[in-house]
């Protein structure tokens, strides 16, 4: 009898361990496998869309080796073009350093590190926008509006950047950043307020705010904020409002990236080291419990949506002040939507967000090269990102694919229906 009971207890403990899982499995292994599986799916699509590979598969039974080799070649060509275009060629980078150390000539070096710095440039808005969505998730709020907040932030920064002249940079640049953050914050605060005051679901309202932002920008870019000329774009911002670049053109790597890292640290500090951050996480984990322990759920909703909007706005600011210097139609280009994938991949932790943003920056940075070298349309990246979201959100699929028996954690439900 007792033995049986002991056995049962042991089993129970095992189950409990299984249930809670280890943080390593949850936070590193699962995301890594999700990304890997996403890339595998992308690879399959590359094979299907490759004429040579398809031709070889037709003769699979007579020459199976050729089919496999052709497929392998197609995938390798595509992904080496992707990652080569994003990270640069290590050999040329080493050669560049050698020339620099022996002759002091930087041309070769700068050329060799261009792809990598460009990926970092692309990762910059991703870090901000990912932090925005992650902050929302931590409070149990789903901010689908990062796209619109990004756009408004960019327009706000651009407006301050080009309309005010004659300021020294140490006033103009912070002001322009602040303008972007404020525009994004307003765009986030409205759904936050509506949720807190009327219980209107933030998912619907942030979607609506996105479309309002797009239509508003249509008007602004063809009317009040239009630069002279035919194209619906804003004038370029003043040099004093630009985020300074580290290297001469065409390298666009700028202070936006360190600034993004700083904000990632600030968000980490805010969430995990301050009372307010604790409250936010408590509300996210269990709003009822938080309410009965005396926290104001309503106030936290408004606060988090405002901060989240400000961060997404800063993503737009970084893009306009650091990289493009002007805003045109379709400026947001999916950054806000991708950032949802990114926040999920980074498990809503600032460090995870930074890593995921680097990955997305690399994917986006290499995609152009992949298109020109391997003739694979850029949109493959979106497919991979979509798959990654599904695999992250449905870890059971990953477990089933790789026969994993660990890390069976309780899944958190992020959204609670429209009206609640």
């Amino acid at each position: 009898m007792t033995e049986d009971k002991d056995k049962k207890d042991v089993k129970k403990t095992e189950k409990a361990v299984e249930k809670h899982g280890s943080p390593w499995v949850d936070n590193l292994l699962m995301p890594a496998l999700a990304v890997f599986t996403g890339l595998v799916v992308g690879g399959i699509i590359v094979i299907i869309s490759d004429d040579t590979a398809i031709e070889a598969w037709r003769h699979f039974f007579s020459a199976p080796g050729t089919a496999l080799k052709a497929s392998w070649d197609a995938v390798i060509t595509a992904y080496s073009a992707l990652f080569g275009g994003a990270l640069g060629n290590p050999k040329t980078i080493i050669a560049g350093f050698q020339t620099y150390f022996s002759t002091g000539d930087t041309t070769a070096l700068l050329k060799s590190i261009y792809p990598f710095t460009e990926s970092l440039v692309l990762a910059t808005p991703y870090i901000f926008a990912g932090l925005a969505v992650a902050l929302g998730f931590r409070c149990g709020l789903f901010n689908i509006g990062a796209e619109g907040q990004f756009f408004m932030g960019a327009l706000g920064s651009a407006y301050i950047g080009y309309s005010i002249t004659g300021l020294p940079w140490f006033i103009h640049l912070p002001l322009a950043l602040l303008g972007g953050a404020a525009a994004g914050a307003i765009w986030g605060a409205i759904p936050g307020y509506l949720k807190a005051r009327f219980g209107a679901h933030e998912v619907v309202n942030t979607i609506m705010m996105n479309w309002i932002a797009f239509r508003l920008s249509d008007w602004l870019l063809t009317g009040p904020m239009k630069a002279s000329g035919f194209r619906p774009v804003t004038p370029s911002v003043e040099a004093t409002a630009e985020l300074p670049r580290f290297f001469p053109d065409p390298l666009r790597f700028n202070w936006g990236f360190p600034l993004a890292l700083l904000f990632a640290f600030l968000v980490y500090w805010f969430l995990f080291k301050t009372t307010l951050g604790f409250e936010i996480r408590a509300v996210g984990a269990n709003p009822d419990a938080a309410k009965y322990s005396g926290m104001s759920v309503v106030r936290n909703f408004v606060l988090v949506m405002t901060l989240s909007g400000a961060l997404a706005g800063l993503a737009g600011s970084a893009q306009v002040l650091g990289t493009d210097h002007w805003v045109g139609q379709g400026f947001s280009a999916g950054y806000g939507f991708d950032s949802i994938a990114l926040a999920l991949l980074g498990k809503s932790h600032p460090l995870g967000v930074v890593l995921a943003a680097l990955l997305f920056g690399i994917l986006r940075g290499g995609a152009t090269n992949m298109q020109s070298v391997a003739r694979i349309p850029i949109d493959l990246i979106s497919v991979i990102q979509g798959m990654v979201i599904i695999f992250i959100a449905a870890p059971d699929i990953i477990r089933w694919l790789y026969r994993l028996r660990i890390g069976r954690t309780e899944q958190t439900v992020l959204t609670r229906g429209w009206g609640k």
């Binding site: 689908i144 479309w211 008007w219 999920l344 949109d379 599904i390 959100a393 899944q411």
Partner: protein
């Protein structure tokens, strides 16, 4: 409680009464200040009542309205209703807001067309066309969410179905086959959504977002990899001919609006009616609503909650797929990247505005379609209001509705929550 004693009005209703009353008066004041400015006695606005010369409808004379009297009529109605609401309160807020909205739009149109001519029936006819994909998206939302599965992936479903339908129709030279393929793809993609959220318990919003990203990515990928190089072989299907219903299409005004349309529009109208009957007057509808409101109770009564959800989501996907087909084989005959342009999201808004009711969803789709076609027409009339602001109207209206100040929109109780069988 005896019948004769009047119940005291609760303070919350009191506040709502005053808020709405004052808002209506503000609307009236706005109309008085903006729309009557610069009008002179004797000015007229001409509204075209015939769609085109080719239409089968009997020709009737155009409507010529004297600007000032017409404007003042609508303003007086608005102000009167506002004052009445402020003083006494009206039982049916929906009707009140509806009438005032009508007055406002009518006054706006008269103001915009003063000294000009404007084809009213033409616009109303294009309203139904523009409302069709919105309505189909909204109906997809209604049937899924009545079974408590939110689907924000409608946009992605419509994009994918738009592409598959045009490609299959081009290859087979058969538009009806294109529609069937669109239904199947829509059902398939929605089935994946259902599988993810029901079997794998993925957060419903995240699954929908993934479908949207995947849909945009896949269709753009296929478009730039295959369709652009082989337009004639793959992406040029032609469109459905307009079908005129005999006799009915001869009716002036109503004929060209309702009875001279693409078959998809008729199918949409049929779906609205069928879904209404099914949801509210059949056992299946009762089961669906039970699953959406209280899945545990439904389960106890022997209803297979998961099965009901799967079927409803898949049927919803097929309806959205039809909406996708409308973009390609229903209107332009080819696929363009991201051509749905947010109609799936407007459909969601229409669903909420229509309070999760098929007929309500259809009527709000008409309203949004109206705003959409009005916006295009306003550019032609060169009204001093940027058309972008009109395009924003549906989104703003949805946000106001969600606040619950004007008509509370209450979703099915279990909407968005996964069901755990115990």
């Amino acid at each position: 409680m005896s019948k004769s004693t009047p119940r005291p009005i609760p303070p919350i209703q009191n506040r709502q009464r005053i808020t709405i009353g004052i808002s209506l008066l503000v609307v009236g004041l706005f109309m008085l200040l903006v729309f009557t400015r610069g009008t002179q006695p004797g000015q007229t606005a001409t509204f075209g009542m015939n769609i085109t010369a080719t239409s089968k409808a009997l020709t009737i004379p155009d409507l010529v309205l004297p600007v000032q009297p017409a404007l003042y009529t609508f303003i007086v109605i608005t102000v009167f209703l506002g004052a009445w609401q402020l003083a006494r309160g009206v039982k049916s807020i929906g009707w009140l807001v509806g009438i005032v909205a009508f007055c406002f739009i009518a006054a706006f149109l008269i103001w915009a067309t003063k000294e000009k001519s404007f084809n009213l029936v033409g616009m109303l006819s294009s309203t139904l066309g523009r409302a069709t994909p919105i309505a189909l998206a909204a109906l997809c939302g209604v049937i899924s969410e009545r079974a408590a599965v939110t689907n924000i992936g409608i946009e992605g479903i419509m994009l994918i179905a738009a592409q598959t339908s045009v490609v299959s129709a081009t290859i087979t030279h058969n538009l009806y086959l294109g529609v069937i393929v669109a239904l199947l793809t829509g059902g398939l993609v929605a089935g994946i959504h259902a599988l993810l959220v029901i079997r794998f318990k993925v957060d419903q919003i995240i699954s929908g977002t993934a479908i949207n990203i995947l849909g945009a990515g896949m269709t753009s990928f296929i478009s730039s990899r295959y369709l652009e190089a082989h337009i004639d072989q793959l992406n040029n299907s032609g469109t459905f001919k307009i079908i005129s219903i005999p006799v009915l299409s001869n009716i002036p005004i109503l004929g060209p609006i309702f009875f001279e349309n693409s078959p998809i529009v008729y199918i949409m109208l049929i779906i609205v009616a069928v879904m209404y009957v099914v949801l509210f007057y059949t056992p299946w509808g009762l089961r669906t609503r039970a699953v959406g409101e209280h899945p545990k109770a439904a389960d106890t009564l022997g209803i297979n909650v998961f099965l009901v959800r799967y079927i409803n989501v898949i049927i919803g996907g097929m309806i959205a797929g039809l909406g996708g087909a409308y973009f390609t084989i229903g209107s332009v005959g080819r696929f363009d990247q991201n051509m749905t342009a947010g109609k799936g999201f407007i459909g969601l808004a229409a669903m909420i505005f229509g309070k999760w009711n098929p007929i309500g969803a259809f009527l709000s789709s008409l309203l949004f379609g109206f705003a959409d076609s009005l916006q295009v027409k306003m550019q032609i009339l060169s009204v001093p209001i940027p058309s972008s602001f009109l395009a924003m109207a549906p989104y703003i209206v949805t946000m106001i509705v969600l606040t619950g100040i004007v008509g509370r929109a209450i979703p099915p109780a279990a909407d968005g929550q996964p069901y755990e069988k115990q």
